[in-house]
């Protein structure tokens, strides 16, 4: 066991993936000498060379488009999109090409491309640096979408994403990059498409992913002090969803709150609420509630604490589902 920040855990995971398979490449803006703006790729270019850790021109569509070409040639590129709000120039390549080309080839082509996206707010950033665009990608068939929430998962999930023969959009909670935890280097983790119960409870199920997992764990701790037993599940995989784990929990607790930073309207919480309502209808004691960002553009950072779900807003929703 060693103590690593989430950013360093990703770095170690990428390093392990590159050591295991010489076809693994890292590419993106400033990923080489600088080591990425969050230092996730720190030192990789020094150790693996400029051919494998590629500082690219400032063109996100170019990053994904050329990664697709490299994947067709047999490489496994891991692309870094510098910030969530900058993924949109690459959206066409991700949605019309990366997601659909394997089907277009009737399975003859595999595109093992990982698109890493630091996501979410809470760091006092300027516009376009705090967004949660996951629903655009979970809505796009052909992509796997995952989000890590802690260093141990970050370490194994990035390696699993690189090993996966499908394209993977990999969300990293940027405000958690510097938070540290124990990581067992070399140990395998839970499969990439599995959800994890991170705190057991009997009264309410909280579903979260990425940066909101920690917020939910804190809310569950606070609720426990009030005598409420709250279960917290880290989805880890946003597409596909690990529904057996989720339904088992909600069937047991009868109450569920979904928490994400992204706007509620049209967000992943709606899909979860619909599916769990279908699957758990006779066991539900209350409607499934959602806590998330407002249906507004992400606000200036002086207002972000109002926008982002926090412990109190999660507890408010817990109170409301328990009040039914």
């Amino acid at each position: 066991m060693t103590t690593l920040s989430l950013a360093k855990a990703l770095n170690e995971g990428l390093r392990a993936a590159m050591e295991t398979n010489p076809k693994v490449l890292v590419m993106g803006e400033d990923v080489g000498k600088l080591g990425g703006v969050f230092r996730v790729t720190d030192g990789l270019q020094k150790d693996f060379g400029e051919d494998r850790v590629i500082d690219t021109p400032l063109a996100e569509s170019g990053i994904i488009g050329t990664a697709i070409g490299l994947a067709i040639r047999g490489y496994r590129p891991v692309c870094e999109i510098q910030f969530d709000g900058f993924v949109f120039p690459a959206a066409d390549q991700i949605i019309t090409q990366l997601a659909k080309m394997p089907l277009r080839s009737l399975g003859k082509l595999k595109l093992p491309v990982v698109v890493r996206i630091p996501c979410g707010g809470g760091i006092g950033a300027v516009e376009h640096h705090s967004e949660s665009p996951e629903a655009y990608f979970t809505h796009t068939s052909g992509l796997r979408v995952v989000a890590c929430s802690n260093p141990a998962d970050a370490y194994t999930m990035i390696q699993d994403a690189v090993r996966c023969d499908d394209p993977v959009v990999f969300f990293e909670p940027k405000r958690r990059y510097w938070e540290k935890a124990e990581v067992e280097l070399g140990a395998p983790g839970l499969a990439l498409d599995k959800a994890k119960v991170v705190r057991q409870g009997d009264d309410v199920t909280l579903l979260a992913y990425g940066p909101m997992v920690k917020t939910c764990l804190e809310a569950a701790q606070a609720a426990a002090e009030d005598g409420r037993s709250v279960e917290v599940i880290d989805l880890r995989s946003l597409n596909p969803l690990d529904l057996p784990v989720l339904t088992a929990s909600v069937n047991r607790t009868g109450r569920c709150v979904v928490v994400h930073e992204a706007p509620i309207f049209g967000g992943l919480g709606g899909e979860l609420a619909a599916r769990l309502t279908e699957a758990c209808f006779y066991r539900l004691e209350s409607p499934i509630l959602r806590v998330g960002g407002f249906s507004t553009p992400y606000p200036p950072s002086r207002l972000e604490e109002h926008y982002l779900p926090d412990l109190d807003r999660v507890l408010d929703a817990v109170d409301r589902v328990l009040a039914y």
């Binding site: 047999g74 390549q93 796997r144 996966c164 499908d166 529904l243």
Partner: protein
């Protein structure tokens, strides 16, 4: 003493009348057999195209993008490729597909709606058709970067049209190819029309001149001259393989038909233009050259015609025999690895369908 004459802007080695002409920078030395073979390619490719248009008109294809008029650009460049080279097409490169031994039935399957492509890009070193304009230029550059990393003796060619040169992806591809010195040939078929929009809507300068701003050579070739297209592409591919980086080839040609079978070009272009380009037909000039040089006799031309007819007939038969895919094909190949949502929806829908059979 007179200054040496600047090379003509348009590289041409065979005039529309079928006369061989020389160019200071490009030469080609073809045997009679090779010329006959190119002629056969041109005729067969046109025949496949003609049959496909007819099939669409008869309701057997949903759509077809005709290559009529662009046969020389495609066959010339397609025959310049070695087996190890990789081609990235648009949705109109039926002639290049032919040169890469892709069964034309695959092309018809796509336009019939049986699948979205489905040939094996690696078996033919011919990538799938790209419908999103210009997107494939980046794939080609990435692939070329892979060739560099493999240390392979190969190059990539990517096809796109005049309209595509306005796309961001194409310009990004130029930049990437340039700064990484990628072994890629950008083969732009300037057929003068992007559906209804003439070249003036895309560029104020000749397209091949764009290359200089990105830091690599650009050349304009007579796109209706199969010899020139072959020579220019060969040279560009050789330079790419030799580590000299990308080249932009602008094949100056004309889209003789509609953009696709859904289009009506009489709404936006004049008949005179079409008539002028008919005189530059890519096949007639090779035929004239073969006749004039007594490199082929009537028996040869008759034989190629008969082969074309047989090919068209057989293609039609096979197209009509294409089975509709089974409903579960919707869920196949979306992911390479097992995916819970695909499995769930597939099972639900098949169960629903089975309900009708009871």
């Amino acid at each position: 003493m007179t200054a040496p004459m600047a090379p003509p802007e348009l590289v041409q080695l065979l005039t529309p009348e079928g006369e061989r002409v020389e160019h200071p920078d490009y030469e080609i030395d073809l045997t009679a057999e090779e010329v006959r073979s190119l002629y056969r390619d041109l005729v067969l490719v046109r025949r496949i195209d003609l049959e496909a248009v007819a099939l669409q008109r008869q309701g057997e294809l949903g759509l077809w993008a005709s290559l009529l008029g662009q046969e020389a650009a495609q066959v010339g460049s397609g025959r310049a490729l070695t087996d190890a080279d990789m081609a990235f097409p648009t949705y109109r490169e039926h002639g290049v597909a032919w040169c890469r031994d892709v069964d034309p039935l695959h092309l018809l399957s796509l336009f019939r709606g049986v699948n979205h492509g489905g040939w094996d890009p690696q078996e033919h070193n011919f990538h799938l058709y790209s419908i999103v304009i210009g997107s494939q230029t980046l794939h080609a550059v990435g692939y070329a970067m892979g060739i560099q990393r493999d240390g392979a003796e190969a190059a990539t060619i990517v096809y796109f049209g005049d309209g595509a040169t306005s796309q961001g992806d194409v310009n990004e591809a130029f930049i990437w190819a340039s700064v990484f010195n990628a072994p890629v040939v950008f083969f732009c078929q300037n057929n003068q029309w992007a559906i209804s929009e003439p070249l003036e809507k895309q560029s104020r300068i000749p397209l091949y001149k764009r290359a200089s701003g990105f830091g690599f050579p650009g050349v304009r070739v007579d796109g209706n001259d199969v010899f020139a297209c072959l020579a220019v592409t060969r040279k560009a591919l050789a330079a790419a393989r030799a580590g000299q980086g990308p080249t932009l080839v602008e094949a100056f040609t004309y889209r003789m038909g509609a953009h696709t079978t859904s289009d009506d070009p009489t709404r936006y272009r004049v008949a005179d233009e079409l008539e002028a380009w008919k005189l530059k037909d890519p096949i007639e000039r090779v035929k004239a050259y073969l006749f004039r040089g007594q490199l082929a006799d009537q028996e040869f031309f008759d034989k190629v015609e008969a082969e074309a007819d047989a090919l068209g007939k057989e293609l039609r038969r096979r197209c009509l025999a294409l089975p509709d895919p089974a409903p579960e094909a919707i869920f196949q190949h979306v992911y390479a690895e097992p995916h819970a949502l695909m499995a769930e929806e597939r099972e639900q829908y098949l169960t629903y369908l089975a309900g009708f059979e009871r």
